[in-house]
């Protein structure tokens, strides 16, 4: 009995003494909104939790300067330099020498790069194989040279050999030795941090790579914790158990975090654009005037205010702002309620129309659609919302079941991706080549296709501009606003760069990242 009492007393004392200690200054603890990170293979994982972490372990041949988003900031990573032929079909990369794979798997050479790209292009081993459809061959003329030959020029070869999705370079020996499943449990790359441990539902632990080619990281460890509950993540951050965390896309969250001492909140890119796709194959939306009436009825500024001034911004075109090729001054329909009503009457609907939207129950996306519903109501347009759970939403909108689809997405920041996935007739839902063209838009196919293989940059930009104008004029979709990615971190954490954006959706943690106190 006495013994039990002692044990309990000791446990209590331990609990009290061991209460949240200050984080060790070389260990970075990050909180992510998920129960798990999924497969840890960079060629298979496309989810936010996985991508945010995998970027700390892997390099590409090239990378976008940390903290930036636009491809204009492309800089060397595993490749020191590169050249391309004038027709854009042949690319040669010179690799850095002496780069070491994690866990003693040897030097990273052109053989590893060739293997990685073949692996990324193979649909058995990669979720991103379609990005590499234009690849003809990848060769290694010598130990430090990689030569890529394309069947046809593509808008950005560099975008698919950077440290993002299939462009992550894996170490051949490790991938072969561990096998597909083994590699997904123990990923081996060349990045500043090495995988050490994965505890399901709890955390992944990464440790510093002492042989990192840019220098030994200043942090010794990253503890990547999976905390699905928003409130618990906030409380853990507040109690000092987390140094950095993914935030909520809510203005109130930003205000609350900004009120805490020693906290930095960043609203970073890539922004996810909220767009209403109008199904032009169905009445009444097959009528251009009805679509225009909807476009005129939407007040972008009102929605911007509603969603939060610090976390969103009004859309500028049918391609998000800041992408290579976005027409930043695209001729969007301005808010004009009278014009909206007049157009409806002209279209033969003086008493208004009713359209249906299957919508996800994800709170931020649902509240957006509800706000839109209120705006449309003023013009006499009834938007009937049918809320369904998120996975169901994704399935049903691809079955062409919704007249209006509110889709919120960020893509690789080149106009081509948004245009071909949302507005090219090849991508129309329910076709064998379907992606996310919910509106059945087909008005700019010629421009989108021509821009893809256009090597003259000015002509390419002009083609993309025309495509955007045509899509806007036809009202295939109404771009409304863009939501930023929110992260909070202690201001004693010096990331080592200015965080404005991260294509991998989590802040890059570099060899220079450190705590200042």
């Amino acid at each position: 009995m006495k013994k039990t009492g002692l044990v309990i007393a000791a446990a209590l004392a331990g609990a009290l003494l061991g209460s949240p200690a200050l984080a060790q200054k070389t260990v970075l603890t990050v909180g992510m909104q998920s129960t798990d990170a999924g497969v840890l293979d960079p060629h298979l994982n496309s989810g936010t939790p996985g991508k945010a972490m995998l970027q700390w372990m892997f390099n590409g041949l090239v990378r976008i300067k940390p903290g930036e988003l636009s491809p204009e900031f492309m800089e060397p990573d595993l490749a020191e330099s590169w050249t391309s032929s004038t027709d854009g079909k042949e690319w040669t990369f010179k690799l850095r020498q002496g780069v070491q794979c994690h866990l003693g798997y040897g030097e990273f050479t052109s053989e590893d790069a060739v293997y990685s790209l073949a692996r990324a292009a193979n649909k058995e081993t990669s979720a991103f194989s379609s990005d590499y459809a234009a690849f003809d061959k990848v060769e290694a003329p010598d130990k430090y040279t990689v030569k890529i030959t394309l069947k046809q020029a593509i808008p950005s070869l560099l975008g698919i050999v950077m440290n993002y999705h299939g462009g992550n370079m894996v170490c051949k020996k490790a991938a072969e030795e561990l096998g597909k499943e083994g590699f997904a449990k123990k990923p081996v790359g060349t990045g500043p941090f090495m995988f050490q441990e994965y505890v399901p539902q709890q955390y992944a632990k990464l440790v510093a790579n002492p042989n990192y080619f840019r220098g030994k990281p200043k942090l010794t460890e990253i503890l990547y914790r999976f905390i699905p509950s928003d409130s618990s993540r906030d409380l853990a951050f507040q109690s000092g158990e987390l140094d950095m965390m993914l935030g909520r896309q809510e203005q109130a969250w930003v205000d609350r975090m900004n009120a805490l001492p020693g906290v930095k909140v960043v609203a970073m890119g890539p922004a996810e654009m909220s767009m209403l796709h109008l199904n032009m194959s169905q009445p009444p939306l097959d009528n251009l005037k009805v679509r225009q009436a909807i476009a005129y009825a939407i007040d972008r500024n009102a929605i911007w205010q509603f969603r939060g001034k610090n976390i969103s911004r009004p859309a500028v075109s049918v391609v998000p702002s800041g992408y290579l090729g976005t027409d930043e001054k695209a001729p969007l329909y301005p808010f004009d309620l009278a014009k909206s009503k007049a157009l409806l009457a002209e279209a033969g609907f003086p008493n208004g129309v009713t359209v249906k939207a299957i919508n996800t129950t994800l709170p931020s996306m649902l509240s957006f659609t509800e706000a839109t519903q209120a705006l449309l109501k003023r013009a006499g347009i009834t938007l009937e919302i049918q809320p369904v759970e998120h996975a169901t939403f994704h399935q049903q909108i691809r079955q062409d079941l919704s007249q209006v689809v509110h889709f919120q997405a960020a893509r690789f920041p080149i106009a081509d991706v948004y245009l071909s996935q949302f507005f090219h007739s090849r991508a129309i839902v329910k076709t064998p080549t379907a992606v996310t063209n919910f509106s059945h838009c087909n008005v700019a196919d010629a421009e989108i296709d021509a821009a893809r293989s256009e090597t003259d940059k000015a002509k390419q930009l002009a083609l993309w501009k025309t495509a955007q104008e045509k899509i806007i004029k036809e009202v295939c979709a109404i771009p409304v606003n863009e939501m930023m990615q929110l992260w909070a971190y202690k201001d004693s954490l010096d990331l080592g760069y200015d965080l404005k954006a991260s294509l991998n959706l989590g802040p890059p943690v570099l060899e220079t990242t450190r705590f200042t106190k």
Binding site: A10, T35, I227, S229
Partner: protein, 312 residues
């Protein structure tokens, strides 16, 4: 006793089969495509179709059912569609966390609920009774995720006695830290249920002839209450404990999410969101198994507490 067990276990097998079949059907009726979830927004229709083939989701339903059932019998529950790890391995890695939380919560519930219920009953319509009834009503009305947040704010943020993120490294203090708040959260809800049942059972038993005769014979009040009456009042309490185990496991889903403890609850939420069919099937087997086994254990406990109960 032997015949009872054989009969109950046979019944358990049939229940398991029925639940498995039901789950198989339900999981496939629910809209949402796992291939789409795995590949993400940007995948084209061809890639999604290829993934469906790879996952075996394009095979005829009856074939999928047969593969699933024969696999389940062999103990092979397949691999998670999302993580690629074996379902059984994923479940077993977190099962102890949920079981441990459930057992400790139940002990807290019994330790608080039974004495409180008895105290309320023997003080019927007096202050202790009112206080207890109001407290148990409060306990029942609080959604577990709200009480969880309150506990966190109080003990983790204001008093800083416990961490927000449950963690455990093998030491007694680490175990205590990871267990205390979640177990208290669930234990209090359980206590609220048990208090009410214990109170009404005690009230009923106290009306019985044998209690009156014991009192008439001059048996001390304490002995009447604790030895004669409580023993009989415990039977409905045990039933409730057994029945509410299901509720406890259900509430543990929310508790695990808020306290960020690993467990079946967290696993099932992830599996549902991602339409991880194989994982959901495996989870349902485990849940059914637990409920069936607890029912058998409850029956056995009756016989132990009350020798008049015959197991046949």
């Amino acid at each position: 006793m032997g015949a009872f067990l054989v009969k109950r276990l046979g019944f358990a097998v049939v229940t398991l089969w029925a639940v498995l079949s039901l789950v198989f059907v339900v999981v496939r009726i629910v809209p949402g495509d796992p291939a789409q979830v795995i590949l993400g927004d940007q995948a084209d229709a061809t890639a999604i179709a290829a993934m469906r083939t790879r996952l075996g989701l394009d095979a005829p339903l009856i074939e999928q059912y047969w593969t699933f059932l024969t696999g389940a019998i062999r103990g092979d529950w397949g691999v998670s569609l999302v993580t690629g790890r074996p379902v059984i391995q994923e479940i077993l890695s977190v099962l102890p966390w949920t079981l441990e939380l459930t057992v400790v919560s139940m002990l807290i519930g019994v330790a608080i609920g039974v004495p409180l219920g008895v105290w309320a009953a023997i003080n019927r319509n007096r202050m202790p009774d009112y206080v207890t009834r109001i407290a148990s009503l409060l306990g029942l009305s609080f959604p577990p995720f709200v009480s969880a947040i309150i506990l966190l704010i109080l003990f983790a943020i204001m008093l800083r006695w416990f961490p927000v993120i449950s963690a455990r490294s093998g030491s007694a203090s680490a175990w205590f830290q990871s267990m205390a708040l979640p177990a208290l959260n669930l234990g209090l809800i359980m206590a609220a249920y048990i208090t009410r049942v214990a109170r009404s059972a005690m009230l009923e038993v106290m009306q019985e002839d044998y209690v009156r005769s014991a009192r008439a014979k001059g048996v001390p009040w304490r002995v009447v209450v604790w030895r004669h009456a409580l023993r009989n009042a415990l039977i409905p309490v045990i039933t409730v404990v057994g029945l509410y185990l299901g509720i406890l496991i259900g509430n543990s889903v929310l508790t695990e999410i808020v306290f960020n403890r690993p467990g079946l609850g967290k696993l099932i939420v992830g599996a549902l969101n991602q339409r991880d069919y194989t994982m959901l099937q495996g989870m349902m087997v485990i849940y059914t198994l637990i409920v069936v086994l607890v029912n058998i254990a409850t029956d056995l406990t009756y016989a132990f507490v009350d020798p008049r109960v015959k197991l046949s």
